[in-house]
């Protein structure tokens, strides 16, 4: 292939490649290397944060599919994470089930719940749908809370680390590679889904469902389908979270968790899988960054007490500033920077229209 004069595509299969140019290949290799080496050179705390990011990526990708691509706003995300975690907890505690049982079981429970969460979407849209899914979240939380109280696990269920082939997953480093692999797999799955027929159907439904219907897309089935797919992924993330944290407690899945995830997809940039990754990274690391910054500042001892309130308020403030000044999300920034460099120093000028 003649790279010298540019890059040509000679058949349609080439268009389907995710990594096309040599430049992209190089960057991908660098990225892989960086991700692989990271846990070997970083402090425990940083690896722990990275692990949280990976789990969040799975959850955020699921929500991005649903909200960013299929246009169904859901506030039931924490409920679904809880479902996965709780399934894991219950099976572990009651039956002593292993990871290989709890993981698929969580997926199945998530899928079924997805069906339930998806039903309102056949009739409702926008914020109405959002609040209804929120209502379902409360129902899940109520059931979970009842279970924990009735069974006397009111402070939560402790779970032992998963054993994979006799090897107990306990060290942060080990978790790192496992979670990284899972996050990458989840991303690939979503990206593939989106560039094929399913993904286009979802976006069509988001933009105009009646039109989609009359193009031969069974809209209702697709809506339920995406709820099921997204919930399954979310539930799996919940299961991973339970194992990673080593405990399950319904109180850990409050509305705030949902808000975190919604923040991830919006701050990342709706309608972009890269956005889900960036959003997860941002939302998870953000509190640490703020904390770090406040720690570096010379705080007079007198207000040391108020640090936490300041920290909390700062979190809100930065989030507001971010949303106000960059409503397109991190992906927006990324694209702008990239466009700037792609076009620099030119500015594209008018091309006439023409009726076809």
């Amino acid at each position: 292939m003649a790279y010298a004069s540019g890059y040509f595509k000679t058949d349609y299969a080439m268009e389907l490649r995710l990594i096309e140019t040599r430049w992209q290949k190089v960057s991908a290799a660098v990225l892989v290397l960086a991700l692989g080496v990271f846990p070997l050179i970083s402090p425990q705390v940083a690896i722990g944060i990275a692990n949280q990011v990976f789990i969040a990526i799975v959850g955020a990708a699921a929500l991005m599919l649903l909200t960013g691509y299929a246009g169904q706003i859901s506030l039931g995300h924490a409920g679904l994470l809880a479902a996965g975690a709780l399934t894991t907890g219950v099976l572990f505690k009651e039956l002593g089930a292993t990871f290989w049982v709890t993981l698929p079981a969580s997926a199945v429970v998530g899928g079924l719940l997805g069906l339930v969460f998806g039903l309102p979407s056949l009739r409702l849209k926008g914020l109405y749908l959002a609040i209804t899914t929120l209502a379902l979240h409360f129902v899940v939380a109520f059931v979970g809370g009842e279970y924990e109280t009735r069974r006397g696990f009111s402070t939560g269920i402790l779970i032992s680390p998963p054993a994979i082939g006799g090897f107990a997953l306990q060290e942060q480093q080990h978790w790192y590679y496992v979670l990284l692999a899972i996050a990458v797999a989840a991303m690939l799955f979503c990206i593939n889904l989106l560039r094929t027929r399913t993904g286009r159907a979802l976006m069509a439904i988001r933009d105009h469902d009646i039109v989609a219907e009359s193009l031969g897309i069974p809209v209702r089935r697709y809506k339920l389908l995406i709820f099921v797919v997204s919930s399954t992924m979310t539930s799996v993330a919940g299961c991973l979270l339970a194992y990673y944290r080593g405990f399950v407690s319904i109180e850990a899945f409050s509305l705030y968790l949902t808000i975190d995830y919604v923040a991830m997809v919006i701050i990342g940039g709706l309608g972009s899988m890269l956005g889900a990754v960036l959003g997860a990274l941002f939302v998870i690391t953000f509190p640490y960054v703020i904390e770090g910054l406040l720690r570096v500042l010379p705080i007079p001892a007198g207000i040391a007490n108020e640090m936490f309130a300041i920290n909390y308020a700062a979190f809100g403030l930065v989030m507001i500033l971010f949303l106000v000044f960059e409503p397109l999300g991190l992906v927006g920034i990324w694209r702008r920077v990239r466009n700037y460099f792609l076009l620099w120093p030119y500015r594209q000028t008018a091309v006439g229209g023409g009726g076809g």
Partner: protein, 290 residues
């Protein structure tokens, strides 16, 4: 009988909070998730004013009411104005972030401890016997009257000025509304000011009745089902929704199990939306003609 009185009080509280959601939703299609925090903020402002003007309860109250309008206005001008024309969900997230910011600031300024503005005002919340063995605290009775007064005021406002329709127009398509000469920012600012005012009244009354602490913000969330059942853009709906949800809740406490009182409103909500997706009085929002 007592049950009816209890329902009436809860209806008043929910209707007041609900009107805040409705007003803002009506002009901007944004659900203001900081409503609870705003309520709490106004209540704390009342507390501080009461501490300042210990001897003059009336001026403390008037001051708090004015501040509530001002807070709404300022919030709009410095913050929400910038979100016009952005994604609705992003604006909703801004309100969530605003809630976080406010909560942090409130803990900073007023700590998380219980505050009792009533005592600072030097008043007594004496029980009122209403006959038939029914008793309510005087603040609770006041709450009912305040709710009625505010709603009458709002209805009159929307009936005799063209702003009701204009607000909805702005809510649907701000740019087109601007083209038609509607002063967008006036509509938005008005909605925010009124919403914090009515929500703030709820907050102040709750605080006067039973004190004020960090959990008040969450009560704001409990009024969600109310406005959805009634229809997010309808004030009438907010009253009816409040009636339905409050009755369901109180009756659940009274007759079934207090434990379910928390989920009951949401169950009512789901059932309701399955039948009428836009709530009882809401206008249909998703019109797709081809």
């Amino acid at each position: 009988m007592q049950t009816v009185a209890n329902i009436a009080v809860l209806v008043a509280i929910y209707a007041l909070i609900g009107s805040g959601y409705v007003l803002i939703y009506r002009v901007s299609r944004v659900l203001n998730l900081a409503q609870g925090e705003l309520m709490m903020l106004v209540a704390y402002l009342l507390f501080s004013l009461a501490t300042l003007f210990g001897g003059h309860p009336a001026s403390a109250l008037a001051g708090a009411v004015l501040l509530s309008l001002l807070v709404g206005l300022v919030l709009y001008v410095v913050l929400m104005r910038r979100m016009t024309g952005e994604l609705v969900i992003a604006a909703v997230l801004v309100t969530i972030a605003l809630g976080i910011l406010l909560r942090g600031l409130m803990v900073l300024v007023w700590t998380g401890q219980m505050a009792r503005p009533l005592e600072k005002l030097g008043w007594q919340n004496s029980p009122l016997a209403l006959g038939h063995g029914v008793a309510l605290s005087s603040v609770a009775v006041t709450t009912i009257f305040v709710a009625i007064a505010i709603y009458v005021g709002l209805f009159v406002f929307f009936r005799y000025t063209a702003w009701g329709v204009r607000m909805r127009a702005v809510g649907e398509n701000p740019l087109l509304a601007a083209q038609r000469g509607i002063k967008l920012h006036v509509a938005y600012a008005m909605a925010w000011a009124l919403a914090t005012f009515s929500g703030g009244c709820a907050g102040m009354l709750l605080a006067l009745d039973s004190g004020l602490d960090g959990t008040m913000a969450i009560i704001g969330l409990k009024a969600f089902p109310v406005v959805l059942v009634g229809g997010l853009d309808s004030l009438r709906g907010a009253i009816v929704g409040a009636l339905i949800v409050a009755s369901a809740e109180v009756l659940a406490i009274q007759l079934i199990d207090p434990l379910v009182s928390d989920v009951v409103p949401f169950v009512v909500l789901i059932a309701m939306l399955a039948v009428r997706p836009w709530g009882l009085f809401g206008t249909e929002e998703d019109i797709q003609r081809v």
